[in-house]
């Protein structure tokens, strides 16, 4: 058979059934688009996680309360009141590698300013918290150690609060009320964006932790202690020393488990990356299932097509086509169908990824290399799907007896 006639014959057959070709290819389009979108979003999420971890601050160690045994039963991490303000002070003062330590307490409150109000998170922190988090002040100033000592009614606020409560006008020197308590705004934080968990970090008000503990939250224990270590090399040592110090302070016997958790930035990053990786795999597998279903659609349509075109096959055999020619024709039809779907799927997938990424405010997800790989792999996978699901119908067609096929009505 003439070589260039093979794709020609297959394309002609597909063109004769345009609607069916489109609908069948649609299955593959959706499958491939889903895979590409999921992988793209997964990549985006991973790089976002990485960036978030970097934004967490430099050389940060987080100490969480938790994993406390209650009558032999662990009641879970973060649930216990085991970290005190004194713990934070001890970490800061007694461990030479530690530069700063800020006991954190959070509460959700409504801020009232004039006739405006806004529900936000109020964080109690020490004066060096912004240094730990590498979070610059945009205007005004951060509260001082003195403010912390005196439990002053002062605060710095995030951009979201400025936007919502002051509608963009300068809030410095203004007073907001939290349950009747007047708090003076002395500084505005620069914009930070989304956090690891997807919350808007700019929706925040930071007050001295003394103020938060005594006058806002009513709690007496820290939810987290944010610790900054001198340099990266000292992280592991600092982690160890913090553990030893806290065990001593909490008077834990050697057989007792820690009632706190010390995590470095890397631990957090690893956990977050692992989570996003698992999510990517999970979503991509589900998308893969839809690609598989698309492949079954191809097989189904090709089988129907072979049955419908039995007479055509008979005629082709009669005028000189050999079994391999017929096999190849139907196989190429299936592959072309899948490749069409693959191309459509790539375009749709990339578009969907970009739209979602733009909406979520993520950075560009596909580098040129990743793009080439994604396109190449998708094309190869769709072709493979075509061969895999197209082979049986094609084989069936090639086995037809021309005499019987010609007589089919």
């Amino acid at each position: 058979m003439k070589v260039s006639a093979v794709p020609y014959v297959a394309l002609k057959a597909l063109r004769r059934n345009r609607m069916r070709t489109l609908l069948t290819a649609l299955g593959i389009v959706i499958g491939v688009a889903a895979v590409i979108t999921m992988v793209g979003l997964g990549q985006g999420a991973s790089s976002e996680v990485q960036e978030q971890v970097n934004r967490l601050g430099q050389n940060v160690v987080l100490v969480f309360p938790g994993a406390r045994q209650l009558g032999g039963v662990s009641i879970g991490g973060g649930s216990a009141n085991t970290l005190t303000i004194e713990d934070a002070h001890a970490i800061r003062d007694e461990i030479p590698e530690v530069v700063a330590a800020s006991p954190e307490v959070r509460s959700q409150r409504v801020l009232v300013y004039g006739n405006q109000n806004w529900h936000t998170r109020i964080y109690g922190q020490s004066a060096d918290y912004l240094q730990i988090r590498q979070w610059p002040i945009e205007s005004g100033r951060m509260f001082s150690d003195e403010d912390v000592e005196r439990a002053s009614l002062v605060a710095v606020v995030g951009q979201t609060v400025v936007d919502e409560l002051f509608e963009g006008s300068d809030p410095i020197g203004e007073t907001v009320r939290v349950r009747g308590l007047p708090i003076e705004i002395i500084g505005v934080l620069s914009r930070k964006g989304m956090s690891l968990m997807g919350s808007v970090q700019d929706d925040i008000m930071i007050v001295p932790y003394t103020t938060a503990f005594q006058r806002i939250s009513g709690r007496s224990h820290a939810m987290v202690i944010n610790v900054q270590v001198y340099d990266e090399q000292s992280m592991a040592i600092a982690q160890e020393k913090i553990t030893d110090l806290l065990r001593e302070r909490h008077r834990l016997a050697p057989y007792q488990e820690d009632d706190f958790t010390v995590q470095t930035q890397e631990d957090v990053a690893e956990a977050a990356t692992e989570t996003s990786r698992i999510m990517t795999w999970l979503l991509a597998s589900i998308a893969g299932v839809s690609l598989f279903v698309g492949g079954i659609g191809i097989m189904n349509v090709m089988l129907v097509s072979v049955t419908e075109r039995t007479r055509e096959v008979g005629l082709r055999l009669a005028v000189g086509a050999r079994s391999p020619d017929v096999l190849l024709q139907f196989l190429i039809e299936a592959v072309v169908l899948c490749l069409l779907g693959g191309i459509g799927g790539i375009l749709l997938g990339v578009l969907a990824t970009e739209v979602i990424a733009t909406y979520a405010g993520w950075p560009a997800l596909f580098s040129t290399e990743a793009m080439v790989v994604a396109v190449g792999v998708s094309a190869a996978v769709s072709a493979a799907v075509g061969v895999f699901f197209g082979f049986y119908p094609a084989w069936k067609a090639s086995r037809l007896d021309p005499i019987v096929a010609l007589r089919t009505e």
Binding site: V9, R311, V319, R322
Partner: protein, 254 residues
């Protein structure tokens, strides 16, 4: 030397323990340039004989020499090659590909040819074949835009396009009205005059009389083999036209 030589051809269909003898020993020679009709009641074995002549089926026993080659020993792939090179098929139900232009339908056998023709050559030959059957101005029409007679002409052009030695026609006029039938038979006679061997299965004696040899089968055996002086289809067509004219005139008068 005859172009077709059958010796002791039998064909037995087996299904389970049942064996049906469709052909029970056919000896037949057809000389090049002959126009042969094969007749017989249904079940007489004429379709089976046609399948064997057309290299679509192989005899159970006996030898089939086609153009100097013993094709009864050929495998499927070589038979396909023989069909492509030596034979042209015309069927009762035309067997044209739907939604495909006349030209592309005619090109079909050339796509499976081993000659590896250029696309230009393929288009040219298909156009020539359509001109031979008088459809040079219908190359772009799809089958559903053509009349039954025109569709059968496209099928004949398709059978002719690879310059076969033998044209095999299986009830070629079975789906056509009497005037179109005469036109097709007239085309056959014209092609036959040009040197093409034609073997035609038909159950209509009127049609068989336009060929120059009539073979009748009965129960898997040849029961008669007559060489006759064929009727002239062109003449018959003229007569038919005259009759129709007279009929129309009489209708107008009444």
């Amino acid at each position: 030397m005859a172009i077709v030589q059958l010796k002791g051809i039998t064909r037995v269909y087996k299904s389970g323990s049942l064996a049906v003898e469709a052909l029970r020993g056919i000896d037949l020679q057809i000389a090049e340039g002959n126009f042969v009709s094969i007749m017989g009641a249904s079940g007489s074995g004429k379709s089976t004989l046609m399948n064997i002549l057309g290299c679509l089926d192989k005899p159970t026993e006996g030898s089939y020499n086609l153009g100097g080659e013993d094709v009864s020993t050929f495998d499927k792939s070589r038979l396909a090659k023989i069909r492509n090179r030596m034979l042209g098929f015309v069927f009762q139900s035309f067997h044209l590909l739907p939604r495909t232009s006349a030209l592309e339908n005619v090109e079909l056998p050339l796509l499976y040819s081993d000659d590896n023709l250029s696309w230009k050559e393929i288009h040219k030959r298909a156009r020539e074949a359509l001109e031979i059957v008088g459809l040079g101005d219908r190359t772009d029409h799809n089958p559903n835009e053509l009349s039954g007679g025109q569709q059968q002409r496209v099928a004949i052009a398709r059978a002719l396009v690879s310059n076969p030695k033998i044209l095999l026609a299986d009830e070629p006029t079975g789906n056509l009205d009497s005037r179109t039938t005469l036109e097709i038979v007239e085309l056959f006679q014209k092609l036959n005059k040009g040197g093409l061997t034609i073997i035609m299965v038909t159950h209509e004696p009127d049609i068989a009389r336009f060929s120059n040899r009539i073979i009748t089968l009965r129960d898997g055996l040849m029961s008669s083999d007559k060489t006759i002086e064929p009727l002239n289809a062109l003449q018959a067509l003229e007569n038919w036209k005259d009759e129709e004219k007279i009929q129309q005139e009489s209708e107008v008068q009444s």
